[in-house]
């Protein structure tokens, strides 16, 4: 069906399935093991649903010690392991293979410590992103990175992919908000990397582990920075006649010394679909829409919005709506937050994740439309404009033979375009399997080999999430 090849599963491992399962049962007990095919099927894919494979077994350890014993055993037996948070990866980061054991962290989801004086929370890897913020909300604190899947995705998965979110323009992504991890290496060694301090005493291994896509170890606990919530936040909505005007407006806001918490962009097709679905009151006669959110006290917000409105008017903003109340704020965000659901109602879509220098925005948008038109596919653009992280949604029909392949082809061309203009293949979703074979468009073999040497440092046998990130051809021998 799809054109990204996965290696042939190891038949010798598959043949040993029941023996391996029994050894795992001895470590984690019945409650921590899934062997029936029906139940294993629930783990066959993640949010990149075009790819799937039923794993050998699924193990759900309850403690770091169990994770250690499981990995030590599987390392000795040379069985591949796919670590899994909530399976929300859009890049296939948690896609299993038939000869691999899925190690899920869902039974480790507790908050272990909340330290408000030092602004750090210690949590287990399986806690959802939103649950961290909820746990500290009674003191008006929050955990800043907010991927759009935050209701479901886990901090363990966020660390693996170095996840971002809508508000990272101001607050940064996972790596900027992570202080320490407890991680189990493939040979069972438990290591504490980082801690409660703000910098590293030696090599920044924490920065290296964050974003290593489950290929270095299994994180079981994390220490994350928690921040005090702003007094308030309000968005303002602007409509523009062209992508150029909207892009210039974004650049000018930043150049004026204003860093909003979020600047979101939607193009006309996206506006139309979202409005039809969410009835958020978006203008339908504009080519581009910006949602700009600022934080502070009421007076501070008013002052900042006044400055932003002035900039937007200079760039020909025709429509503007300033939220004055909580209800008006929610209305402005409603369409954007439901955008992906709204798209899913009218078509199947593939969500791209390239980043570009924001100055190249209008030109890139034009070329993206050309690419999709050439493949006979629809396109809607939604993205984080402040940091250039694009989420073009390529629309296709899974039931039409050949359309998925066309969409993948168009997606690859869009990502190559992002690299050509000085950007990158993935801003926040990760490489996974989806972008694996495009890595040589961004890097050369020497760059990738140096990365692979680090994979070997942490996992000498290349058993953790092995078929991801690097093209299968040309790897250093594992």
């Amino acid at each position: 069906m799809s054109f990204i090849a996965m290696p042939k599963p190891d038949a010798a491992i598959i043949a040993r399935r029941s023996e391996i399962a029994e050894c795992l049962r001895a470590i984690v007990g019945d409650a921590g093991l899934i062997v029936s095919e029906d139940e294993r099927r629930a783990y066959e894919t993640d949010a990149l649903t075009a790819y799937s494979a039923i794993p050998l077994a699924v193990v759900l350890p309850a403690t770091t010690q169990e994770v250690s014993a499981v990995l030590k055993y599987l390392n000795e037996e040379r069985v591949p392991v796919i670590a899994r948070g909530a399976g929300t990866s859009l890049a296939g980061g948690a896609l299993p293979s038939e000869d691999a054991v899925v190690l899920g962290v869902s039974r480790m989801s507790a908050v272990l410590d909340m330290n408000f004086a030092d602004r750090v929370a210690t949590v287990q890897a399986g806690i959802t992103n939103i649950a961290i913020s909820q746990a500290v909300a009674h003191e008006q604190f929050f955990y800043a990175p907010d991927p759009s899947s935050q209701l479901a995705c886990t901090i363990g998965g966020n660390i693996a992919m170095n996840s971002g979110g809508a508000h990272c323009l101001k607050y940064g992504v996972t790596t900027n908000n992570l202080l320490g991890v407890r991680m189990v290496l493939m040979d069972g060694t438990i290591v504490d990397i980082g801690g409660e301090q703000l910098d590293s005493g030696g090599y920044d291994l924490l920065g290296l582990v964050c974003g290593s896509e489950g290929q270095f170890g299994v994180v079981t606990e994390a220490k994350v920075r928690i921040l005090r919530q702003a007094e308030g936040a309000r968005p303002v909505l602007f409509g523009f006649d062209s992508a150029e005007d909207a892009g210039a407006c974004v650049a000018d806001i930043l150049a004026q010394g204003i860093i909003p918490v979020a600047i979101e962009y939607m193009d006309k097709p996206a506006i139309k679909v979202c409005e039809a679905f969410a009835h958020a009151g978006y203008p339908l006669d504009v080519e581009a829409l910006l949602i700009v959110e600022v934080e502070g006290s009421d007076e501070e917000i008013d002052a900042m919005i006044a400055r932003i409105v002035e900039v937007a008017e200079k760039h020909g903003s025709r429509t503007q709506r300033v939220a004055r109340t909580e209800a008006e704020s929610l209305a402005i965000w409603k369409g954007r937050k439901q955008a992906f659901g709204a798209m899913g109602r009218i078509a199947d879509y593939m969500c791209m994740d390239g980043t570009i220098p924001t100055g190249r925005l209008p030109e890139v948008l034009t070329k993206i439309t050309e690419i999709c038109t050439r493949h006979g596919l629809g396109i809607a653009n939604i993205f984080h404009a402040g940091d250039g992280n694009l989420h073009p949604l390529i629309l296709y029909d899974i039931n039409k033979p050949g359309e998925l392949e066309k969409a993948e082809q168009a997606g690859a061309e869009i990502l190559k375009l992002c690299v050509e203009v000085g950007g990158c293949l993935t801003g926040e979703h990760g490489v996974g399997v989806e972008k694996r074979d495009l890595m040589l468009d961004q890097f050369n073999q020497a760059d990738l080999h140096q990365q692979q040497r680090l994979k070997t440092v942490f996992d000498p046998r290349w058993l953790l999430n092995p078929s991801k990130v690097f093209p299968l051809e040309g790897r250093l021998s594992s």
Binding site: A117, D118, R119, F141, G164, C168, G172, V173, T175, L185, T189, I190, G195, E196, Q197, L198, D199, G201, G202, Y203, D204, L205, L206, G207, L208, G211, R228, A230, L254, G257, I259, S297, E300, A303, T355, P357, T358, D387, G388, N389, G422, G423, C424, G427, E428, H429, G430, V431, M439, Q442, F443, A446, D447, L448, Q450, Q451, R453, K455, V457, F458
Partner: protein, 400 residues
């Protein structure tokens, strides 16, 4: 083809481009002659003493290669003087928000710090608690590894998770993994103005509690330091806020109310505030001394424990990062306070020796010893980049 492209004079290699860096590293590998890696040579006394055959300096790799103010990004060759970067940014009212430390005053060195060394040493000042560290602003690097290979990681865009993050790894690696040849950094606008609240006469514990309360408020405290009595006159506890003029009045008022149990603060604005934070940033209070200078990093509320341990060993301290960074000036005899500070840290943080005579830096661990499993990973990381230990060998850890 590549012979004699690198100018050699008295053991000094001054490559003018990346190709010459590659040649220099390959020559060093071939002859088994390790290199000291330097930028402006202002921080060469930090680290364990090294046995090297020559010094490779990046100072001729100079120049801004990219600056897009509206994209908040600047790129430069590694040997570009920091002051050239700061000057260019200031033209557009922008800055490096992590407020890089200038070590020249405490180290008594001259020369011009380079942007590459700012990255390689992960130099972050007081604003680190609000705006992130150098490693957070660093978004792209090019380097020549100890294998003599030019590689890149990251790029020029802020959001980038393509491949492993070797950018973070290179920050704070002190030239032991690769010779940085070009760096790209995220920049931020300069605020219109700043104000510092100054509480006087607080003891260390109360001061840290005051800073914690400020940092736990919604008022975006962008500097939180405590200078105990004797550091800069009477004890001063400092909270800095930055922003638009109208914000300063509001936020300083709110902070005064929130922190009223700690007294009534004096307000320092504009240049007076900036001058004081420069002293905090550069630990200037300990300049011109022959004490051993340590940087101790741990959970902020434990700061006063470190302060007490330093005092019992005859040292003096001040606190930055809300208490999470303790600058300790210790008597330079014996182990220069290493065991006193490190037993107080107790494995939950680290103590790094910034200034001490060479004999002490040879005798005590300059960088905090790591737990064995982590130390093994660090050694293997070094070997992955620099298998022959050609680059700054032993500067951070013995044998690596």
């Amino acid at each position: 083809m590549s012979t004699s492209v690198v100018k050699k004079a008295a053991g000094l290699l001054e490559p003018r481009d990346e190709a010459q860096v590659i040649t220099a590293v390959n020559d060093a590998r071939a002859s088994g002659a390790p290199l000291e890696i330097a930028g402006g040579s202002t921080k060469r006394s930090i680290g364990r003493p090294m046995q090297t055959a020559a010094t490779l300096t990046t100072h001729r790799l100079s120049g801004i290669t990219l600056y897009e103010p509206s994209e908040l990004v600047i790129g430069a060759k590694a040997g570009t003087p920091l002051k050239a970067i700061e000057k260019e940014l200031a033209k557009n009212r922008q800055r490096l928000a992590f407020e890089p430390i200038d070590y020249r005053k405490v180290l008594g060195s001259d020369g011009e710090p380079t942007i590459g060394a700012v990255a390689a040493a992960n130099l972050s000042g007081p604003r680190r608690i609000y705006a992130g560290a150098a490693r957070d602003a660093l978004i792209g690097v090019r380097m020549v590894t100890g294998r003599g290979e030019a590689i890149k990681s990251g790029g020029r865009v802020m959001k980038n998770v393509t491949g492993y993050d070797l950018v973070k790894l290179s920050a704070g690696s002190w030239g032991t993994l690769g010779v940085l040849t070009e760096v790209t950094l995220k920049v931020l606008p300069m605020p219109e103005t700043e104000t510092t609240l100054v509480f006087e006469g607080l003891g260390d514990r109360q001061a840290i509690a005051c800073l914690s309360a400020g940092l736990g408020s919604p008022f975006e405290v962008a500097g939180a330091a405590h200078l105990p009595a004797g550091i800069d006159g009477t004890a001063k506890t400092l909270l800095r806020i930055e922003g638009f003029a109208e914000q300063m009045t509001y936020r300083s008022g709110e902070l005064k109310t929130l922190l009223r149990r700690h007294g009534v603060p004096a307000l320092l604005a504009g240049e007076a505030s900036q001058a004081l934070w420069l002293k905090v940033r550069d630990a200037e209070f300990f300049a011109g001394e022959d004490t051993a200078l340590w940087r101790v990093s741990m959970m902020p509320s434990r700061g006063p424990e470190i302060g007490a341990a330093a005092a019992s060993a005859g040292g003096r301290v001040f606190y930055d990062w809300g208490g999470g960074l303790v600058w300790a000036a210790m008597p330079a005899g014996n182990d220069a306070g290493a065991s006193a500070l490190r037993s107080a840290v107790a494995g939950n943080g680290h103590a790094t020796l910034i200034r001490a005579p060479e004999s002490i830096r040879a005798a005590v661990d300059v960088f905090q010893p790591e737990q064995p499993a982590v130390a093994a990973l660090s050694r293997a990381v070094k070997d992955a980049f620099d298998p022959d230990h050609i680059l700054n060998p032993g500067r951070m850890f013995a044998g690596a």
